[in-house]
């Protein structure tokens, strides 16, 4: 480049200088972003608890299941401990917006961050929070490729497996089933996989379809009635998001097949429990979502206050609840 300098016109020389200058100012991302825990800046710690602030960042912040379980428990914890708690995130299921919120939050240096593990793509920003010295706990679904300090949640694969086993039992290993949830979410897809893996053991059960109910009751009902029309001999339907159950149940009841078509689904809102009690839904797989955020927040607190000098648990499975007509009264 230097030797050919002679032959260049002043304009192209200026251009070359500009390009070199830009190239020098350009900074490539680190090669391995997952292992980027460097230079944890020492956080000046505020000794007064009243100044502490714990922030939960989720997506779809208005989803009833999140509001009634995760957020309610988190707020209750804040009240009990006498610290400030805030809940942030987009109203829609929008993972990039959750990432943007986290990015903007890190600059405001909260005491601890509780992150809903919505998608593996949030690993980068979690690492950024950890590198900034902010205690960060992931709940619901793990982000295993991140440097998060702890994880609490359930195994979605297990949720699918439980539904598959229950369905096989209910149908005595023979019949047609369909299943639905929000397609394209990592945790739900692993639930679907769990269901399918169990059903492989039962050649008498035929899966007629996988549907996207978009976490919408009307959509779940519409899909179910279409499935009933296309397969009048359908014997079971499985749901994977909190609105699947009520929708499936509505369509099955309208078709006059309550109890004949077996339903297993997730979540245990009052509406779900009522449907189990009257025999429309046969089984609910319940997550202990309250424990995700209650103990998640407690982990953050313990980390900040060095409660135990051995640190905090790395990975916690809060377990699942199997709710059927026999035990439904305990939850109502």
């Amino acid at each position: 480049m230097m030797t050919s300098k002679h032959f260049l016109s002043p304009a192209s020389k200026a251009l070359a200088v500009a390009v070199l200058f830009l190239a020098a100012a350009c900074e490539l991302p680190p090669r391995n972003s997952a292992s980027g825990v460097s230079a944890t800046s020492s956080r000046q710690q505020d000794s007064t608890i009243a100044n502490e602030e714990y922030v939960m960042v989720t997506t779809a912040v208005t989803m009833p299941m999140y509001v009634h379980h995760d957020q309610a428990a988190f707020k209750k914890w804040g009240k009990k401990m006498g610290v400030k708690v805030s809940i942030l995130g987009p109203a829609e299921w929008d993972v990039p917006a959750q990432i943007n919120t986290l990015e903007e939050l890190i600059g405001t240096r909260p005491t601890g961050i509780l992150v809903n593990g919505t998608d593996p793509a949030i690993a980068q920003v979690i690492n950024k929070a950890v590198a900034a010295g902010i205690p960060t706990v992931v709940y619901d679904s793990d982000i295993p490729n991140s440097n998060r300090h702890a994880f609490l949640g359930t195994d979605w694969y297990e949720i699918g497996k439980m539904q598959g086993e229950e369905m096989a039992r209910l149908l005595k290993g023979k019949g047609k089933i369909a299943y639905m949830g929000i397609l394209g979410l990592t945790n739900m897809e692993s639930g679907f996989q769990g269901l399918l893996d169990v059903l492989k053991k039962y050649p008498g059960i035929e899966v007629v379809g996988k549907y996207d109910d978009k976490a919408n009751v009307e959509e779940a009902a519409r899909i179910t009635s279409d499935v009933i029309a296309a397969h009048p001999d359908i014997s079971g339907v499985c749901g994977f998001d909190s609105n699947s159950g009520p929708g499936i149940a509505l369509a099955v009841r309208e078709a006059g097949k309550a109890g004949t078509i077996k339903i297993t689904t997730v979540d245990w809102e009052p509406e779900h429990l009522q449907l189990v009690k009257d025999g429309t839904i046969q089984m609910l797989v319940g997550q202990k979502r309250e424990l995700f955020t209650w103990y998640g927040a407690q982990f953050l607190y313990d980390m900040v206050h060095h409660t135990n000098n051995v640190g905090i648990p790395y990975q916690i499975n809060t377990g699942l609840m199997r709710i059927t007509k026999e035990n439904v009264d305990e939850y109502m």
Binding site: C26, E27, T62, I87, G89, V95, E103, G107, L183, G184
Partner: protein, 316 residues
């Protein structure tokens, strides 16, 4: 006269923006007015702004595109899919992603301009189709994209992440084109009075189709950039983005009836919304309010739009 009022709107938005920034700086002196925070705001609005530039051109010509959010997801997923499962080299995969977006825009434009399908119905249908395609190619999302692909969106220039520079480049290029070239000026004539534009010899149908192609292509570029920035392609990317972008563009001075707006207004509108959402994070205002505030902003701008038109029609 009306042109002046609309230009005043860009001016009044800028004034409003400055007031908001000053107030936020006083209320949150430690967290809001920092270089890091502004860098982050710009990065977070860069994707929306690139889409908004295309939407602005469409709105100038009197149309809009609801499928852009889905195109953002599809272009990112398609590019990632080719790289991940067929080992297509990064530049070729990007080219394929952009071409696919261009084709979606062409289909939209062709059916709307030449076959007379209503733009809202056409792009609403396309929104569903393209979202479905994104789900089909990516399943639950594609992670671990090639290093050089991620470098496109994660590198920094002068300490600022690349998407911000791409955004400025896009805004600058299109602002120049729309202001200085006769071809792009035609969008104003079409949006202002389609019949008159047609009679004066402008090939209205072709220009309308070009508008949809530009909008979809820019959405595709934005989607590829977003995947590169995230290091992953998610089928849920760009959900609700169309509403956000239309809000930003209307806020930035476009009129739903066409004929008005500036490219810089798209940037300004997006900046305004980016700063509002940043303040909500800093003030710890929950996401419940987000949609309410977004709705209020949209309604008040549309109302402003209407009352300005009324005012003008009485003057004229």
């Amino acid at each position: 006269m009306l042109k002046k009022i609309i230009e005043d709107r860009v001016f009044s938005l800028l004034t409003m923006l400055i007031v908001v920034v000053i107030v936020a700086s006083i209320v949150f002196p430690n967290t809001f007015p920092t270089f890091d925070n502004f860098r982050q705001i710009l990065l977070n609005l860069s994707i929306d702004t690139i889409v908004a530039v295309g939407m602005m051109i469409l709105l100038i010509s009197g149309a809009f595109d609801l499928s852009v959010g889905s195109v953002v997801a599809f272009a990112g997923c398609m590019t990632a899919y080719l790289m991940q499962f067929y080992n297509v080299p990064v530049p070729l995969a990007i080219l394929a992603g952009i071409t696919a977006s261009l084709i979606i825009g062409w289909v939209n434009g062709f059916l709307i301009a030449y076959q007379g399908i209503n733009p809202m119905i056409q792009t609403l249908a396309m929104m569903g189709i393209v979202r479905g395609l994104a789900l089909m190619v990516s399943g639950s999302g594609i992670q671990n994209l090639p290093y050089w692909f991620n470098a496109i969106g994660q590198s920094k220039l002068f300490g600022i992440q690349m998407p911000v520079w791409y955004m400025l480049l896009t805004v600058g290029t299109f602002a120049l084109l729309v202001n200085k070239t006769i071809i792009f000026r035609r969008f104003y004539y079409i949006g202002g009075n389609e019949k008159a534009a047609d009679l004066s010899g402008i090939r209205v149908k072709r220009m309308k189709m070009i508008g949809f192609i530009i909008s979809a292509t820019l959405a595709g570029v934005a989607g590829i950039l977003l995947s590169s920035r995230l290091g992953a392609a998610l089928p849920t990317m760009g959900r609700g983005l169309e509403l956000r972008v239309i809000t930003a563009v209307i806020l930035g001075g476009a009129s739903l009836s066409g004929g008005y707006g500036k490219i810089s207004g798209a940037l300004l509108g997006a900046l305004f919304m980016g700063i509002i959402s940043n303040i909500m994070v800093i003030a710890r205002i929950s996401g419940y309010w987000q949609e309410i505030i977004l709705g209020i902003i949209l309604i008040s701008t549309l109302w402003l739009d209407k009352s300005l038109q009324k005012k003008y029609s009485t003057i004229a």
